[in-house]
Every structure is written in structure tokens, then in C-alpha cells.
Symmetry: C2
Subunit: 423 residues, 2 copies
């Protein structure tokens, strides 16, 4: 059977199952989410056994597979522990605690002719997720999609296939026992790129596709998909230290944005400093960053400090996701805005300033999903924003921009009630 | 110069101009819209002269062009009159009267850590419009995009090229005189399909593409575009007359939905009648529709009436946009829901019933942009919904669904204000 046929079949089952899920009450969905959480813990052994297979394969690929062992940090993401399973279960319980977006009346009015008009949130229908070797995404995505009334087709990395198969088997049993249809959560069959490709071409069968992972994965989905895509997460984030910055705050924010967690999309990758505060700030920030093990890729002014590596245009464009930062002195706020306009990926950009006018210009003119004033870029996060759960951070302008919680996983419909109204 | 280079150049100019437009106040934009309206009337002669060229070309294509004269109804859409120009000017003034979506705070809160969080509406940036031979769309789209802070690239039908060139020249002069940059409104150069193709491939340069026109145009844009598309307007709309319908209301709604205006996407194309009321309703509805000149493409039960043509599956799928309707008797509400699930284009579907439970099931289970109870499908319209202006009716689920007014022409950004906040 070709990948295309296989994907069409799971999508068809998902469509049928999505219809009853769309009509499920919040109480049914929340009870199901708790049952899913319970099942993850009750059947931890199965899941950990599946995961052990994946980890073993990643550490020592079978001879003849032609594959090299995976890098240690990828194996770390892949590995599940009892503690991580507890985190996944806790995540599902938290989703159960969130308000149900389905049925929310977004707006409504009584029209002049007596027609009642309401715009109401409804599920998309069938959501496709394409993601890398983090088995926790399997449970997170299943929970968020179920709560928002969407059937989900999961296509994780083939390196996590045994983990994902075990998790999905456990979740599907819990869903069935709770009285909903198991086909609201399905793995996309097939381990080759053909199944990813088929998923991207399933326009009409899959309503939305959400890729989560590195820039390469996301770009390939954006370019090849005929299914509407929500582009997530590439973050070339900037911190601009203005002439009017409080340099203590600036130092704390730069350090936090760069070093709090380097592998995430809201970590800072570039530092811009106003020329008037360069003399005062550069020695402090260079010493502090280097003290944390950060390599600075700097312009000529930064380059006057020991240990700073010369930056090229590639550095301005790079999402390092590591203990590296590009750094440049800019002549003024306009220079900072121009640099950000040219190089930012439109995720999160921050200004540090005590000058109200400068902060207002930065907020108005920086065209990014999140613009921060005197705060670390690390705050761009569904949890930090109080959304309670997050399926990803959108860097596109259509539909959703920034952290996506449950409401962003829905569409709307208009309901019009009359009494024989004609035009 | 290739079409690709030409499109890149106009898109680049649009991007630059969009930046100052995004910062323009409502007062500036409204004054500009009034100036645009004034200019359309003051320079009506130029526009009508351009239009006369288009109409002449449409009626009698030059020998050797290989083109046939356009159909009378297309020439009617193409033709401008003083009255139609006044309508276009009035449309611009109405847009000036609408609230500015830009800057609207969609939601906001003070987070537990003291961070101020706001989600604020911002323009997309650069919008591309691809449309057919209706020169009024040129002014409408320019007005809606300007008010929502977006630069627009207009690619109308080449059969309206002289009209569009004249209208855009007049609008650009008015924009310049009002102090905004003329490049917020531009025609896409080139009259071949190459320029449409280049527009569809201008990902990153054009933020959103909105096709308006027939099903063929929209499908080709949806399939070929790498720029995010908002799919508009194909309407295979249904009226379902339930067992518990008030048959007088049902008759009025069916007639209105089918015959009030046949060429529009919210006109009804299919009639479904519950078997229990078929005997009472069919003679009345067949006579009334035929009395208005409607050809009924019916199933066997409808076929027992004189003049009814036998329907095939093609009829259930067809958006006639003419005095034709497909008609079928269904065994029950489930049969109606099944038919609509199979054949509806997801635009607007109506039930006529006095039964609350039936209306609630119909509203919950019909997955369309608009679901109407005891009201004509013709009400799915930005004007009727009170939105004041409409760029089109979206039949997709991502971003906007149903009539799109000014807020649907925007994205949002998150603004986060702190005082040295770090995680």
C-alpha cells in the first residue's frame, strides 16, 4: 500500500472520529484527559520498554542500516524516565483544567432586521503534527487536540517510533474506555519521508498541519505542503540595549535571554548596543557572557575585547541554539530597528530602555510575534503568558501569531437564527 | 525584465510603503479615503475613458488576438458608469466611517510576575489581490487594505486593464496628496499569467494572497501559491426543509435564496426536503420556482412533477450561479446532514424548522462557514452581518471563516512590558 493511500485511510478515520469529538462535552473530554494521564502512569513499563528500544537503536544503529549513532543531546531528548512520564501525565491534567474553547461565542449581535448573529468557536477537524524525536510531544499534542475537539494525526521522528507507538496505544485504550473514539488520536503509518510527504499533500483530508522542530523541518513543510500550515518556532531573537537603558537591567536581561536555556526558540541570538553606552556596557556584558561560557561573535567594537570572534553576516542570520551570541554596536535606535528589520525571524525582540518614546517606537516598528520592553525574550511562551498549554509558537501572520494555546487550535462558524427572514 | 523580477520590485516598494502606513493614524487614513473618493468623481472622465477602451476590446477583440468577444454578463460587470463610480466612492467613504482595527487590544492582562501583556492588532503588511473583470474591486480592495494598514498589490483581469490603470492612477495621486505613500496601492505589472504566477510565488515578500472570482481561479491559486492564501467564495449552498418546517416560511426562503440574485456565492444551489412534508411542499415549491423561471434538477420524487429535469451526482456538486437548482427528498434530518456533509462547499447552509432540537443538531453538525435557521442563505454577507465592508467570504478554516471585514485583514502581535524581568 502506498504512503498516500495509508495516509488517506487514517485521515478518513480521523474525519469520522472528529465528528463525534466535536460534539463531546467539556466534561467528557476532561474525564478522558484524566484517564489518559492515569494510563500513562499505570502502563509506564510498556512505554519505558518501547523507549529503551529507541534509545538502544539511537546509541548503536544496527550494522548495515547505514546510520550513525544520534548525538548525545538528541538522545537526551528522546529518553523517557518515570519523572518525564509524570510530567506528561501532569501536562494532560493541566489541559483538563483549562477552559474549553469549543462553543465560545466570540462575538454576537441582534441585527436590525431581528436576525440573531453569533460567531462561535468550532474545532478545525483533523490536525496533522510533524515533529522530531521528543516523545513527550506525542502526549502533549494528543491532549491539546482532544481538548480543542480536533482529531490528530501524529508523525513523530522515526527514531522515536517505538516510544510513540507505545504512548499512542496507551492513550487510545484510555480514550476508548472513556467512551470517545480511539481514532481521534492516530499515528501516521510508515517511517520513510513518503508518509510525511503524503501528509503534506492531504489537502481537504487534513485541515491544518503544524510542524514542530528545527528550521530545516519547518521550511520543508512550509514549502512542500498544500495543506494549510501553521509555521512555528524559528527564533533569531534580539536584545537591543538602548542609550537610555538601565545597564543593570540590561545585563540581567541579556544573560537570562542567552543562557537561561540555549536550545529554545525564545533564547536571544543577537545583542545590539547603542553606541553611546558601548564604553560603559561592553566590558561588563562581555565579561559576564564569557563568564557563563558564551562565545561572542562581535563587530569591530566588540572585537576589541579579548576572546571575541569576528562576526560575519551569517552570524546576524543564525539561530545558534547554543552558547553563542552575535553582537554589534549600532549608531542609534534607527540602526537597531534597521538591523532587526533585516535579520530578525520575527519571533521575539526586546528593547532595554527607560525612555518611553524609544520603547513606543520599538513596540510600534518591530514587526515580530512578540515585542518586549525591559524583559527577557524567554517570556514568549504559552505557559508564561498564562495560556496553560502551548502547541507551539507561530511565527507567521495568518491565523495565529506567537504562543498558540487552545483557542488558536480552533476555527469559528457563524450561526444565524431567524424566523423566516428573506432579503 | 521577467515577471518574477517585476513582482519582486513592486512588492519591495509595497513593503517599504507599508511601514509608514502601519504607523498612520485613523484620522490620516480616513482623510485619505475621502480624498480617494473625491478623486474618483473629480476624474470620472479619465476612468470612464479607460473603461470604454476595455469594453470596446471586450466586445470586438482585435483581429489576430485569437480572442472571442466576452459574454454579455461579463461585459456588464466590466462596464463602469457614473452611477457605478459614485457607488465606488461611496464605498470608500463607508470604509472611512468604520472603526480602525489597527491597535485594537484583543486581550491583555497583568501577569503574576508583574509583566504587562497585551495582544494588539497590526496590519499583515503586504496583501496581494487576484480578481476578475470587476473594476469596482480595484477601489474596494484599495480602500479596505488602506484602512487596515496594508499595502496592496492588485492583479485584476487583463480585460479590465485600462480601467484598473486609470483607477489606480487616480487613487495614487489622491494618496500622495493626502501625505501617505502612493506605493501602498500598486498594480502588478504584466498582463500574462506569468505575473499571477510570480505573485503566488512571492513568499516572504507578500504576506497574504486573496483570490476573488470563479471556482477555477480560486482553485488554481490555492494549489499553486506558496504565499499563504485566504480561499474565498465558492458556494454550493443548501436549504433543508425539515419535517417541522413552517411551509410558508420554507417557500419564501427557498425562493429568496435561489432567485434574489443568482450569480452570487450565497445563493442556494440545492434544496433538500424531508420525506414527510414532500407531498405537501413539492407541488408548491416546484410551481413557485418554475414560476420564477428556475429549472429544477430533481431526484425521482421531484421528477414526478412536470418540467423537472433528472439530477445526477454532478448536480449535487454544482454551483450553478444561474436559475437552476438541484432538489432531493431526504428520509430524515440525518439524510439531510449526510447529503450536506458529502456535497456542501462549506459556505452557507440553512434549515427551515420550528423544531428546536432539529435546529440545534443542524447548527452543531453542519460544518460550514455560516449555518442559518429559518433564514435565507443570502444573509451570509459582510454588509448584512453589519461589518460595513467586506473583502470576500472565506470558505477556509484557518485565520478567517465567513465574511471578512476589516479585523480579518489584520494579524496581531504580543507586547510585553516589564521592568527588568528575567526568568
Amino acid at each position: 500500500m502506498t504512503a498516500e493511500v495509508e495516509v488517506r485511510q487514517v485521515a478518513q478515520r480521523a474525519r469520522v472520529a472528529s465528528r463525534s469529538l466535536a460534539l463531546a462535552t467539556r466534561a467528557q473530554k476532561d474525564a478522558t484527559l484524566h484517564a489518559m494521564a492515569d494510563a500513562l502512569l499505570a502502563r509506564a513499563d510498556e512505554i519505558l520498554a518501547g523507549n529503551a528500544e529507541d534509545v538502544a537503536r539511537a546509541e548503536a544503529p544496527s550494522t548495515g542500516s547505514g546510520q550513525a549513532p544520534l548525538a548525545a543531546n538528541i538522545i537526551d531528548r528522546l529518553r523517557l524516565t518515570t519523572e518525564r512520564l509524570e510530567g506528561m501525565a501532569q501536562g494532560l491534567r493541566e489541559v483538563a483544567g483549562l477552559a474549553d474553547p469549543v462553543g465560545e461565542v466570540v462575538r454576537g449581535s441582534l441585527l436590525a432586521n431581528g436576525l440573531e448573529l453569533r460567531q462561535v468557536r468550532v474545532p478545525f477537524g483533523v490536525v496533522g503534527m510533524i515533529y522530531e524525536a521528543r516523545p513527550n510531544v506525542t502526549a502533549d499534542a494528543a491532549g491539546i487536540c482532544l481538548k480543542s475537539g480536533n482529531a490528530v494525526l501524529l508523525r513523530g521522528s522515526s527514531s522515536a517510533r517505538s516510544s510513540n507507538a507505545a504512548i499512542v496505544a496507551v492513550l487510545r485504550d484510555a480514550i476508548t474506555e472513556s467512551g470517545l473514539e480511539a481514532d481521534v488520536v492516530q499515528l501516521v503509518p510508515g517511517e520513510t519521508h513518503d508518509s510525511v510527504k503524503a501528509l503534506m499533500r492531504a489537502r481537504g483530508q487534513v485541515d491544518v498541519l503544524i510542524p514542530r522542530g528545527g528550521a530545516g523541518l519547518i521550511q520543508s513543510v512550509v514549502n512542500e505542503s498544500t495543506v494549510p500550515v501553521i509555521e512555528t518556532g524559528v527564533g533569531n531573537c534580539h536584545v537591543y540595549v538602548d542609550r537610555a537603558a538601565d545597564l543593570d537591567k540590561a545585563l540581567a536581561i541579556v544573560l537570562n535571554a542567552k543562557t537561561h536555556r540555549t536550545s529554545v526558540c525564545n533564547a536571544a541570538e543577537s545583542l545590539l548596543v547603542h553606541a553611546e553606552v558601548a564604553d560603559a556596557f561592553l566590558p561588563r556584558v562581555v565579561a559576564a557572557l564569557q563568564g557563563e561560557g558564551v562565545t561572542i561573535h562581535g563587530d569591530a567594537t566588540f572585537g576589541a575585547h579579548d576572546g571575541v570572534v569576528a562576526a560575519t553576516d551569517d552570524d546576524w542570520a543564525t539561530e545558534y541554539l547554543s552558547l553563542d551570541i552575535a553582537a554589534r554596536v549600532v549608531p542609534d535606535l534607527d540602526g537597531a530597528l534597521e538591523h532587526i528589520r533585516t535579520w530578525s525571524s520575527g519571533h521575539s525582540d526586546a528593547i532595554v530602555t527607560e525612555d518611553l518614546a524609544a520603547s513606543r517606537r520599538f513596540v510600534a516598528e518591530v514587526d515580530s510575534a512578540a515585542v518586549l520592553v525591559n524583559a527577557s525574550t524567554r517570556f514568549t511562551d504559552g505557559g508564561e503568558f498564562g495560556f496553560g498549554a502551548e502547541i507551539g509558537i507561530s511565527t507567521q501572520k495568518l491565523h495565529a501569531r506567537g504562543p498558540m494555546g487552545l483557542p488558536e487550535m480552533t476555527s469559528t462558524k457563524y450561526v444565524v437564527i431567524g424566523d423566516g427572514h428573506v432579503r
